[in-house]
Symmetry: C2
Subunit: 210 residues, 2 copies
C-alpha cells in the first residue's frame, strides 16, 4: 500500500508518518522509485504500537525508540524480557538515585537488590520520592499493597508467554502493561469511592445542615 493508505488505515496523518520514518520509529517501506515506497501490514501494526505508547503510555519519542530497539533485538531469555519491559516503561522523572533507607526497605520486603533489578530500583525510587514529598508508606501498608499487586501479577504473567517468540512476548508484555496500568489506577479510585461512601456516607451528611 502507499503511504496515503497507511494513513487511512491507521488514522495517523502523512506528515506524522514521515516523522516516524525519519525518527526510525517506523521501518522504511519498499522503495519503488525515488519518490515512492510501498508499505505492508507490519507497518500498520508498528504505527498502532507507536500510537499506543505515545497516547496511552505517554512515552517520549526517545523512549518509544528504545522500545522499538528492544523489540528488534529481544533478549533470548523469558525472564530477561521482563527486565527489558521494565526498563522501557520506567517512570518519566529523571529520578535521583533512591535513598539507602528506601533500598533497605525494598530488601526487607524480600525483593531483589536494586542493583540487580530494574523493578526493585523503581520501587525504591518511588518510595524515596514519596518520602521526599512528605509521604511515608508504613510497613504494614506496604505489605498489604505487595500482596494485592502479587495477585495482579499472577494474572499478568500468562503461561502463553512461554510459548511465544521473544519479540512477540516482549510486545505483548509492553502493550499489556501500558494499556492496563490505567485500568488498575482507575480501579483504585472506584474502590476509594466505595470505601469512602461506606465510611463517610455518600450524601452530604457531614456538610452544612440543609
Amino acid at each position: 500500500m502507499r503511504i496515503s493508505e497507511l494513513s487511512d488505515r491507521t488514522g495517523v496523518s502523512i506528515p506524522t508518518l514521515k516523522y516516524y520514518l525519519r525518527e526510525r520509529l517506523l521501518h522504511a517501506g519498499e522503495t519503488q522509485s525515488a519518490t515512492r515506497a510501498v508499505y505492508d501490514d507490519t507497518h500498520v501494526e508498528r504505527v498502532r504500537l507507536v500510537r499506543t505508547l505515545v497516547d496511552v503510555g505517554r512515552l517520549s519519542i526517545d523512549r518509544v525508540r528504545e522500545v522499538i530497539d528492544a523489540l528488534e533485538h529481544p533478549p533470548a531469555s523469558r525472564h530477561q524480557l521482563l527486565g527489558a519491559v521494565h526498563e522501557a516503561l520506567r517512570p518519566h522523572q529523571a529520578s535521583e538515585p533512591p535513598t539507602t533507607e528506601a533500598a533497605d526497605r525494598v530488601r526487607a520486603l524480600g525483593l531483589a537488590d536494586c542493583a540487580e533489578s530494574r523493578a526493585s530500583s523503581q520501587l525504591a525510587q518511588a518510595l524515596s520520592a514519596a518520602a521526599a514529598g512528605g509521604w511515608v508508606v508504613d510497613d504494614a501498608t506496604l505489605r498489604v499493597w505487595q500482596r494485592a499487586m502479587r495477585t495482579v501479577a499472577e494474572t499478568d504473567v500468562a503461561e502463553e508467554l512461554g510459548r511465544m517468540a521473544p519479540g512477540d512476548a516482549l510486545r505483548y508484555a509492553i502493550v499489556g502493561t501500558v494499556l492496563t496500568d490505567p485500568v488498575l489506577l482507575a480501579l483504585r479510585r472506584v474502590a476509594q469511592e466505595a470505601v469512602s461512601a461506606e465510611r463517610f456516607g455518600s450524601t452530604d451528611a457531614d456538610g452544612p445542615p440543609a
Copy 2:
C-alpha cells in the same frame, strides 16, 4: 522571608517562583514596597505541593491550577472531596468518551454509573482505550484486579480524613494519590518479576544452550 529565602528553602529558582506567582499557582506575598514582598510558611508548603504535582504527578500547569483552585474552595462533604481528587488527577489523554460496551462492563462490576462518578468514567475510558489498543481485559481478570484494588483502597481512605478540615483532607488525598500511584505500579513490576522467575526460571534456562 524574602523571595531569595523562599528559593533557598524550597530549592526552586527565583524565576520559577515568579512564574508560579504570575500563573496563580502561588499566592502573592505581603507587599512591603513596590519591589519587595515577604513570604511565609504557607508559601513554602504551596511551592512543595506544586513541585510534587509537577515532578511526580506530571501534571500540566493548567491541571495544577485546577488542584489549587479546588484546595482553596473545597467541597463541604467528605465524599465529594474524593470526586474533586479524581477530577484533578484524571489521566492526561484527551480521551474520547468511553464506548457503551465499556460503560456497561463498569455497571456489571456493581459500580456507580459513569455519568455520576468521575472514577467510574475513568475506568470505562481505560477499558475502552485498552480495547482500542487490542487488549481486552476479561471479566475474570477484572474481578481479581477489583478485589486487589479494594484492599489497597481500604488503606487509602484513612479514618483521620473524617476529622480533617476539608482543604486539609483534599490536599492529603491528592498528595497521597500522586505519590503512591508510582509505588503501586512498581510493586506490580516486582511481583511480575517474582512470578516470572517462578514460572520461567530466573536464569537463561530457556535461552540458547551454553
